[in-house]
């Protein structure tokens, strides 16, 4: 029951943050509401996996991408803190999070464009919180043996069982998941080709795909539905970068709708 309540709260938080971001990007309330409704359909994919895990991963990656976008615009101490906290959060949200951080952090530090010494400083700043939080969790796990995730399976998990990748052997299933996510994340790649800022979101999406592939290679596989909500959140952030021009709203809604359809087609794929 706790898991269901937390899932609902995470869902509401994600939707609220997404709407706020879209409004800040200049979308009207109506268009924002439509885009957020479409995003909710992607969040619903979480029902085909461990719902809370999937939503928390989506939230952590959404926050990470948002912090990275803001950091790119304004290099401030607050931006660094937000980014490193989101990196810490993403590794708590999912075991794949550590690998996501491993790809994202050096990319962000390198994109800073400063001298090697300054980039090293930024790299340290970004890595510090995730590493310290990992150490604290390890200490707590040793001193007080307790796995909070063990209690997080809930009544919302696997309500939908449309996709069968996870019945395959883990390596093959994981690789197919990674390829499916590359397809599902098409709005992100498209936006990255057209808008410079959206490349930051693309780096994070790439990191997620790489993390899934590496996990698969290590014989660890998760249902596709565990990642679709995260892809949905990242796609929304990428779509928000569409320039303020005529038919912007129509383009955004069209891309978001296509993204939802592709996600659900992949989920329902009879493999």
């Amino acid at each position: 029951m706790t898991s269901a309540i937390l899932s609902l709260a995470t869902w509401i938080l994600l939707v609220g943050l997404a709407l706020r971001h879209l409004r800040a990007a200049g979308y009207s309330l109506h268009v924002g509401a439509v885009l957020v409704a479409l995003f909710s359909l992607q969040l619903a994919a979480a029902f085909s996996a461990n719902t809370l895990h999937a939503l928390l991963l989506a939230l952590a990656l959404f926050l990470m991408a948002k912090a990275a976008l803001e950091f790119a615009v304004m290099h401030s101490a607050r931006g660094v803190i937000a980014l490193s906290l989101s990196l810490a959060a993403v590794q708590v949200a999912s075991p794949a999070g550590l690998m996501v951080s491993a790809v994202v952090v050096p990319s962000l530090a390198a994109s800073h464009g400063a001298s090697r010494g300054k980039n090293a400083g930024l790299l340290l700043l970004l890595l510090f919180t995730p590493l310290v939080s990992a150490a604290i969790f390890a200490y707590l796990a040793r001193e007080f043996p307790f796995d909070p995730w063990a209690h997080m399976a809930g009544p919302l998990d696997h309500l939908l069982q449309p996709q069968l990748f996870d019945r395959m052997n883990p390596r093959r299933g994981g690789l197919i998941n990674a390829i499916a996510l590359i397809a599902g994340a098409f709005p992100i790649w498209w936006m990255a080709l057209n808008y410079r800022r959206a490349r930051i979101v693309a780096v994070i999406a790439s990191a997620m795909v790489i993390a899934i592939a590496v996990a698969a290679w290590m014989q660890r596989s998760y249902p596709l539905g565990a990642f679709v909500p995260a892809v949905g959140g990242l796609s929304l952030l990428a779509i928000a970068e569409i320039e303020d021009a005529p038919h912007r709203a129509q383009r955004a809604i069209a891309i978001a709708s296509a993204s939802v359809m592709v996600s659900w087609l992949l989920l329902m794929a009879p493999l």
Binding site: R78, V80, A120, L124, F128
Partner: protein, 551 residues
């Protein structure tokens, strides 16, 4: 009343005269207020020949005297010479006599002594009755206090990191700028004075509106010789000699100089300071744009020799955190702000109204920031930097840091004499902020080694701390406090250089836990000195750095 004489005449009249022995009812305050001084043979010198002052002199003396115009510093020198003992007494006892509750001349009050004795007694009884649980509970409290200080600083950093509103424009016409006084207390600083002079001459401010007081101790002949030479060459400078006396502190020297300050605004710079050239114009613009209750602006401080060694790098991180984030955070939360040692810009009238600095407090700057808040005046931060020399050797650093921590202890004790009054004056947020920022600074320094000792005993020497359940919890709290507190201090130190773009210093932030051990050593020394030599001012030597000292 006779006519105003010319400069040459005034020089002759003044140099040839003896001071009027009978000054009637007039005293130094009247002479200073109207910038005049009566001489022998019916002469009177004044540094203010404006119509209002001349009318006042006419009304005061009628036609009985002949008025001679003099440079203000000549008039002030005459007044100072005549009333030296009065000014000396006021410099030392002014605050203690008028507002004894704010004076650190009493280190600890009777009430505080009783409270301290009772607390220590209870602790000893508990330690005797239940040694394990009590000692671990104490350790837990240390851990919580250490962490609370770190968390409060993290909150301040987050708030202070918000981009400030655009600074007011400061392209004022020279004619509209007020007289600005600069106090430079000096003691055995002859070696750094040429660089100081260059830094002050580089200030972008009209020459005729600068009133720079070089304040030297009367027995410091080397510094006085250089100061006299500078003043002889440049009319913006004047030299004030502070008579011998105790306590021999910087605030006493500044208090002695304050009656002779001419400016609407007053700033303090140290001998090794290099203020940004537009700092005074920025301060004037900020004061003019600010509400009238803003009595002081604190400019940012940092170092020009940060790259010299590990100690100077850590010091630079320390200052960057303090002045770039923590003080702006206090400013935004409207929490009383302990000022930094230099580059405090004051409205002169407000400074005089609160009886200037406490000469018995060895961090008079921190104390005056709190006192300003307690009388309803505000301190804001100024977006301008003064570069200083970071102490580059451990002995010098230890002396300076232990003085600062001792001063924070003094300040905390002074303002906690009546906690309820402080609460009423500063409000709840101000009261809590004062406890965490002023009290937390020295308590963290003292708590840190206790936490390290518990950690080392429990981990490496096989001391079993966990046999009682309560003790186990306290031990965990203290160890988590140590780890989280030090981790947070390290992270804050790493973030500190971000605003200045000095990210190459960030890796040094990882060594903050070692730096905190040094601070703890200074804290222990400060605690010892608080009771053995409370008003002793440990001199920080300047001019030792090997890089970046030029202007």
């Amino acid at each position: 009343m006779g006519s105003v004489g010319d400069g040459a005449q005034s020089k002759r009249a003044f140099s040839g005269s003896r001071l009027q022995p009978a000054l009637g009812s007039a005293g130094p305050d009247e002479f200073l207020a109207h910038l005049y001084f009566p001489l022998d043979h019916g002469f009177l010198i004044t540094g203010d020949t404006g119509p209002a002052n001349m009318a006042w002199l006419q009304a005061r003396y009628g036609n009985a005297v002949r008025v001679i115009s003099c440079p203000p510093r000549v008039v002030l020198a005459a007044i100072e010479r005549k009333f030296r003992e009065v000014f000396q007494h006021r410099a030392v006892e002014g605050l203690a006599e008028s507002e004894p509750q704010f004076s650190a001349s009493t280190v600890i009050t009777r009430g505080q002594s009783v409270a301290l004795a009772v607390s220590l007694g209870v602790v000893f009884v508990l330690l005797f009755a239940a040694p394990q649980i009590s000692s671990m509970a104490l350790a837990g409290i240390c851990g919580v206090l250490f962490m609370a200080n770190a968390v409060f600083r993290a909150v301040l950093l987050w708030i202070g990191a918000e981009e400030p509103p655009p600074a007011p424009t400061f392209q004022s016409e020279d004619a509209s700028l007020p007289i600005y006084s600069i106090l430079v207390p000096l003691y055995r600083e002859a070696n750094v004075m040429p660089a100081l002079m260059r830094a002050l001459q580089a200030l972008d401010y009209p020459k005729d509106r600068l009133d720079i007081k070089l304040i030297v101790e009367v027995d410091d002949r080397d510094t006085a010789i250089v100061a006299d030479a500078i003043a002889a060459r440049d009319s913006r400078f004047s030299v004030i000699r502070v008579p011998s006396g105790t306590p021999r502190t910087k605030p006493r020297a500044c208090n002695y100089a304050m009656p002779f300050v001419l400016g609407e605004f007053t700033v303090i710079f140290d001998a090794e300071d290099r203020p940004e050239p537009d700092q005074l114009r920025k301060a004037v613009a900020t004061f003019r744009a600010a509400p009238g209750d803003v009595a002081c602006l604190q400019a940012r401080l940092n170092f020009y020799n940060a790259d010299e060694n590990w100690l100077t790098r850590m010091f630079a991180l320390d200052y960057a955190l303090w002045f770039d984030y923590l003080l702006p955070g206090l400013d935004r939360l409207n929490i009383p702000m302990p000022l930094g040692g230099t580059s405090n810009h004051f409205r002169t009238a407000a400074l005089r109204a609160i009886h200037c600095w406490d000469p018995y407090n060895v961090t008079e700057d921190a104390d005056i920031g709190i006192r300003l808040a307690r009388v309803g005046l505000r301190v804001r931060t100024l977006d301008s930097t003064t570069f200083e020399e970071a102490t580059n050797n451990f002995g010098n650093w230890l002396r300076q840091r232990s003085r600062w921590l001792k001063g924070y202890m003094q300040t905390w004790l002074v303002h906690m004499r009546s906690p309820l009054t402080l609460l009423r004056n500063a409000g709840l947020a101000g009261f809590i902020g004062f406890q965490l920022f002023v009290g937390g600074t020295f308590i963290s320094a003292l708590a840190n080694p206790v936490l390290w000792a518990i950690f080392l005993l429990s981990k490496f020497f096989g001391v079993h701390l966990l046999s009682a359940p309560a003790a186990a919890v306290a031990a965990h709290v203290s160890i988590v406090g140590l780890a989280a507190g030090n981790g947070m201090f390290a992270y804050l130190a790493m973030l500190a250089p971000f605003r200045r773009g000095w990210l190459e210093l960030t890796p040094y932030g990882l060594t903050a836990p070692f730096y905190w051990l040094l601070i703890s050593a200074a804290g222990a020394r400060a605690l010892w000195q608080l009771f053995s030599r409370p008003w002793y001012w440990e001199k920080t030597s300047h001019g030792l750095c090997k890089i970046g000292g030029g202007v």
